[in-house]
Symmetry: C2
Subunit: 262 residues, 2 copies
DNA sequence: TAGTGGTCTAGACCACATA
DNA sequence: ATGTGGTCTAGACCACTAC
């Protein structure tokens, strides 16, 4: 039989472009995904902007459109990119109209988040501070390193419902003020994208039932005997770098934390 | 110019096989996905078994392997199927070795779920009953219809940690006994697969912080002032048919509910 | 009309598992 | 050695969006 020549094209030095493709022997589309991640991380494409078309990227990386597509598919499934048919592929942002408060899973018992309108925010405190051992561990810092610490109350329809404490690495978020947190009319994560170029792409939460201390119960206007949900969240930017520690106390008499399992 | 004939093959009456492919004009791979779902639902392939190879399925449905692959990809991403390279594609089951207790998100604060060993179960109650309005709504029944109601305590290392109340549609789970629940050495969901052929593929949870009543605090051996996590779960089998309502009370002094956001 | 992502096909080769 | 799923390519057509 006549042997058919392999279909593999002369694939020039595979990915001569700078940047080490992770484990060196991963599938091509994984390497492409890594390169796309680098471009996202470096800010080549900013939140809300569109990235080049699949064809353009295929030409740039010297691979087929299908390979680029598979890389983009994974990034889209991880919520880093958003595809819009006929328009292009866009860098995900916390400032989206219809996915606002992506990380907030507290829902009103009656009605839905949309009809409830945006939360009213009251900033209690926002100051530069030193990382405790616990905060340092969560943020990948050393104890005593600079952090921005903030406390605020979120209210829905005038009812204080969430008390939040935030800790952010001081070196990255230097200059963040209560004014900024209070002024921006949207998710804080969207403000951090805009003002500091840091995007939270993933988070872990540890949830417990607790009783508030005196100060907490006062701020939430509940009795100290009211059980509350404690939600400790660590948020990560690209490459699993922790960028925020947040502790929320949620009232769950009018709201509930909604989760989907599969 | 010479016009090139279209690449579309003579695709026989598209999917003459019985069963209405949802909205009639969905993508081919979605229709294939629907047919695969029917086979899963009808029990043609049972939990833990392998399904036919992609090539076989492609021949059966008269489509290309790539189209079958995309259908399987989606079912795998929804945890209905599990791919194993070199071996085949398998029907997911709650009896898996390494994904036991898929729906249980309560983790020990120190160590991990593996080192903790399996939970000890104590069945408090298991009897036939009538659906209250609330239970009926959750299970898609009418008030007063037959339900199996059960209550049990799960302990880790001898410490009672979870108090669960379960409600199951009586017509589907007729004959379920405390003995069965107690004897089966694994997740209850695996037992329900084996004994009743019902597989839970998805669930919703509503989480709150609550205080236990007298009976609950006794069963969990905590004071009535101990805040607990209330986790109300509705579990669904194929086609979003609700098949279980479960309310868990979790102690969160030694454990926490872990969630990942993206 | 042109450009984008979405679907579908076809065929080749690779990596892994089993016999 | 054989069969499975995994990767990669290539090209065609479809559906949506904007101009």
């Amino acid at each position: 039989m006549s042997s058919i020549p392999p279909t593999v094209p002369e694939l020039a030095p595979p990915l001569a472009a700078g940047g080490l493709p992770a484990p060196a022997f991963s599938p091509l589309y994984q390497q492409i995904k890594g390169l796309l991640l680098q471009s996202l991380e470096s800010g080549e494409w900013k939140p809300g902007e569109s990235i080049p078309s699949e064809m353009d990227l295929a030409a740039r990386f010297r691979v087929s459109q299908g390979t680029v597509r598979k890389a983009i598919d994974e990034l889209a499934s991880e919520n880093l990119l958003v595809r819009r048919q006929g328009k292009g592929t866009f860098v995900a942002t916390h400032a989206e109209q219809h996915v606002q408060y992506r990380f907030l899973k507290l829902m009103p018992d009656r009605g839905d988040a949309d009809t409830e309108g945006p939360a009213e925010r009251r900033i209690i405190d926002c100051r530069s501070s030193r990382a405790s051992a616990e905060v340092a561990r969560a943020l990948g810092l050393r104890s005593g390193e600079s952090v921005i610490q903030a406390r605020r109350v979120l209210a829905f329809r005038g009812v204080p419902t969430i008390l939040e404490d935030l800790w952010l690495p001081g070196v990255t978020f230097k200059g963040l003020t209560a004014q900024q947190m209070s002024d921006y009319p949207g998710p804080t994560y969207a403000m951090l994208e805009l003002e500091f170029g840091v995007r939270m792409v993933r988070a872990d939460e540890k949830i417990r039932a607790v009783l508030p201390d005196a100060e907490q119960s006062t701020l939430l206007q509940v009795t100290p005997a009211t059980p509350l949900l404690s939600v400790v969240r660590t948020s990560y930017t690209y490459n699993d770098v922790p960028m925020e520690l947040r502790r929320g106390l949620y009232r769950t008499d009018t709201h509930h934390y909604r989760n989907e399992l599969s």
